[in-house]
Symmetry: D2
Subunit: 344 residues, 4 copies
């Protein structure tokens, strides 16, 4: 059994990691730390894990050697301790934003401060298997992914790979998100009477995850607009792009089918009938699937490319475990078989 | 025009008071205070009032003489300043819990501390017009009402008045409430990812509002159980009582119809068809109605008596303005004509 | 008192009309028809109106002469009876889509069938006061507005009027809508277990309301994408446009302030702090306000222009009553003073 | 591998059965029927199963021999075909209400019609393992359970077993339920604008599931009151009972701990701190756990006994698979390890 530990396990991402790893057939969770919940049972913070584990949160300083170390700290912390962490485990998967961008300049640009361990930036593989599967197999360090970046990257990836869209004209990506994206700490806007029933555009442009889209897809003219809706889990990214002249639905089908065939967690959702004709985050809670869809207006080349994910799964903990599986030479779907619920 | 001012206007009750009073044809809102939002425009805190008022929150110390003073402070504060407030206005409506109970012993029992101005307790009329209309006309000081107490009191009032139920056997009242009951300040449990989708029994027994039911209805054996549901506004109280021998549906109809005839904001909801057959808070947002209903199992005398209200209206600001109307000799419905929305 | 009657009053738009008109100080509701609910009390279908009216739904054939006739029939019906209706009243406000487009060709294009009374199309003024106030004062016939069209038209109107945006490049409008848009009749996708928690793009392009945007704003390259979210009432339209070279925030402020100053129901929402910094439909339920906002990325000219409305009010019944007020020479805000609720 | 087939697989219970059984390590799903969706892929109806199975719905007449047959038909159908079904498989688990009650008189009483195959009623074991585990091991036929009955039975079982409560005085059980309880077919009240935000008491007394509580717990004086809340999955039953004289918290703890120790899917939830102190259906979606809790008012013996479950899991498909596991001599938790999600 592979021994894994988690630094920072009391947040939503940490909880989701625990849920997956405690049932993962090839790993054993050794330790999980949390400063805020030191000494508490894991199930007191993550109530779904009651009767599943008697683990307690330990002090991060007590974390011992492990085969794989997951870092699920708030953004900006892991970079200050990465050398220590690297002494504890040969393989690290960091779920924060600290090691997603390869260039210190990009980090400065999107996070508004200089990176404290810039030499580590290029040691990390960007943690999206659909983009970097082969590198992961031989990697030691894998970064997390931004959930909105992942929804955007996967929405656009089949199109970019198959060279079907104009990349010089602006690409507008409208992203609707649930409240768990904001993390486990409350704020005035997350108070239920204020947060329920919202359609609230909290970031019209300039969202940090844009940096991951620019880096990973090589797109320059991409604009993310973030809107909160009344949902706990889930992201839907809708990218408005213009196809190249002559691109037809059959070309798109081919590109999307290829993507789905090559990636176990990618599905194409494009039905002519029934209720669920397009990608929807509703049915993805707890699942690692990324559902992709597209709608082309053949009159003018306007293409709406959609991707729905569970932000805590494919957008965070799910991709991280999938990455770990690759890192360990396991089938990448191991431990990630929950398909989601209907209805929910 | 009657000049009214509000001490403590930045909470949800204060906001609802402002919404009503700014459109009330017989009053003029002079001042509204808030320590936390000093100097801010009212509409920055209560965004529904944008373009309706240019009032700013002032310091409570700046509040001047008025004809009527509304106190909408957090519980436990008004009692310390009631003498000062009484110098500012001859008529006071306090929306907190400070002056609802007439006996210092009861206050001690339910609030766990002694009252700082016990001599004031008997000067206040309990602020539910359906119980104390005639006293209000000549009163100077009117207390607020607990929202859950109001739902319970109105659910049981027709039955107690008409002497239709056993009062020695236990009366269990199950109360389902929305999140605005908790006030405008957040807490870990009100964070949207934790508060959405709940059916959370936060008080199985011993809720403070029980004291108001005991006092107002003279019931001894009454038990309130509070459960949060996924709703922002609204309360539904369902009282499980046993009828006296021989009580039939026609007796109940008579008692309820009398109640509705005598009280402009009481409606009886008991339909044989359609979607809305029983009282529901869903359609009461913003309305001052109390919808009453009953279902009698004639096989055994089990009666479910229901009352639905908007906790911020009939359960707080609406009853307060209705009380003020009586205090001022106005038609008690003045300014309270919004009927609620459907659908919502 | 002006005598008004409503043909087709059992749907959501008809219910909202009734709510407004029953409290309108200058009109008297004479009759309201509904084939499906013939003989039922209005409050059995619209439960918020209990204790507000004893009106019953009559047969449409029984509708008598009135000063103003509101038509709130399902789309495609009013055009077949418009001559009869015109004999009943000199002034008609139709809330359906039948008389919004002035050209029979446009009607054919967007509704997929030929119009049965094309000669009537040009007799109707398009029912958005912000666009056609002066024409309405002398009009006899006013059409309704599409709710999504209204959100889009108002989002873009200040920009088009002030000539601040590029109109040759594509304008992508992402519109998020609540479930009441679909009307009072259920369908498999509106069943609560399937409709709750959705972020469901039901129309990626080609929505019928596009025709109203093209007609009213003269835009050719505008693309509406419709997504259902978990909300009952409300629309948020976010238009992604590129500003003309040199356009800065101050130019936008000027255009929006002008719009708000000239229109009593238009507000500009653009705050630096607080929870409600941008337009949100959440706080608009029951209100006739259209909240406008904008966010400009000065680095590249990407402008997100937003408009939030209540689809049943400003997007339907509210605009219709506002239009009637103008038609009757009344203050256009009469009867439309409900400001909306917070929280909700 | 055990070959299982499902008759009637297009409803919510059938979908949940499929989700579990397709991942169950010891069974193979051979066939699944649906008249309404004949020939459609299973994933077109249950979109969470896309990429998990290529099964199509077949005609019920095409169902072949199997080791275990699950019947997931609407209530009232299986009883007419039970002889045929019994020829197809030696072991049957029926999820409908047809074979839950052992006495034809009880069936007549609660379902208002005579049973068409009364001789079969006593051949079925009532399908709640917590009550009938040992019988199931040797059974051939197992009935389903009512979801509300299950929540009530499990809430009261520890108390009845340990003889801690008065059973002659009335027991009032308030049950709050999500919309999936109503099944996959819509009705006017399930239309999203009408069903969202509800606290709707649709059955004050006389609910059919009461019969299962009377039969299984031997209680005579038990009253179920059903209220819909805004939730898709989940049931919370709160039973108001009076303890016998002298019963204290320690007695209750002992009874509940015994229950949890003897049953792998029973958990006791009673915390002094944190957000999740009492049983809540919120965190149980997809899980087979039954979370039990209790709150005793020691002043008067009022005990609130709570049970939260996912109605489609422990209240339907989960109990059915747990029963099948026992029937087949497997560990009863096999295939039922999903713990639920947090947050959700």
């Amino acid at each position: 059994m592979t021994r894994v530990s988690i630094i920072g396990g009391s947040g939503y991402t940490g909880g989701e990691l625990l849920r997956i790893l405690l049932d993962h057939p090839e790993v054993e969770v050794k330790q999980v730390s949390s400063r805020n919940h030191l000494g508490e049972f894991v199930y007191q913070v993550h109530p779904n894990l009651r009767k599943r584990t008697q683990l307690k949160f330990c002090d991060p300083a007590q974390i011992e050697d492990a085969d794989v170390l997951f870092l699920a700290l708030p953004h900006g912390q892991a970079q200050h301790h990465i050398d220590e962490f690297a002494r504890l485990a040969g393989k690290i998967v960091d779920l924060s934003a600290d090691f997603r961008l390869h260039s210190p300049e990009d980090y400065q640009k999107w996070y508004g401060e200089s990176h404290s361990s810039p030499e580590w930036l290029t040691k990390f593989v960007y943690g999206l298997p659909e983009l970097h599967r082969s590198e992961m197999v031989n990697a030691s360090y894998i970064s997390g992914v931004g959930c909105n970046a992942t929804a955007t990257n996967l929405a656009l990836l089949p199109l970019v790979r198959a060279n079907l869209i104009e990349t010089s004209t602006p690409i507008f990506v409208e992203i609707k998100v649930g409240s768990s994206e904001g993390g486990a700490e409350g704020n005035p806007g997350s108070h239920h009477p204020e947060r329920a029933n919202v359609v609230r555009t909290f970031s019209a442009f300039g969202h940090r995850h844009t940096g991951e889209v620019v880096q990973e897809l090589g797109l320059k003219n991409v604009h993310l607009t973030m809107t909160s809706v009344d949902l706990v889990r889930g992201v839907l990214a809708s990218a408005h792009v213009m196809t190249k002249p002559g691109v037809a639905n059959k070309d798109l089908w081919k590109a999307y089918r290829t993507m789905a065939n090559e990636n176990p967690f990618v599905r194409v959702v494009k039905e002519q009938r029934g209720i669920y004709r397009v990608p929807e985050p509703k049915i993805l809670s707890g699942s690692n699937y990324a559902d992709l869809g597209f709608e082309l207006d053949e009159n003018n080349g306007h293409l709406v490319a959609m991707c729905a994910i569970d932000n805590l799964m494919k957008g965070a903990a799910g991709s991280a475990v999938q990455s770990m599986n690759l890192l360990l030479g396991l089938d990448e779907t191991t431990g990630l078989n929950f398909p989601g619920l209907h209805p929910i």
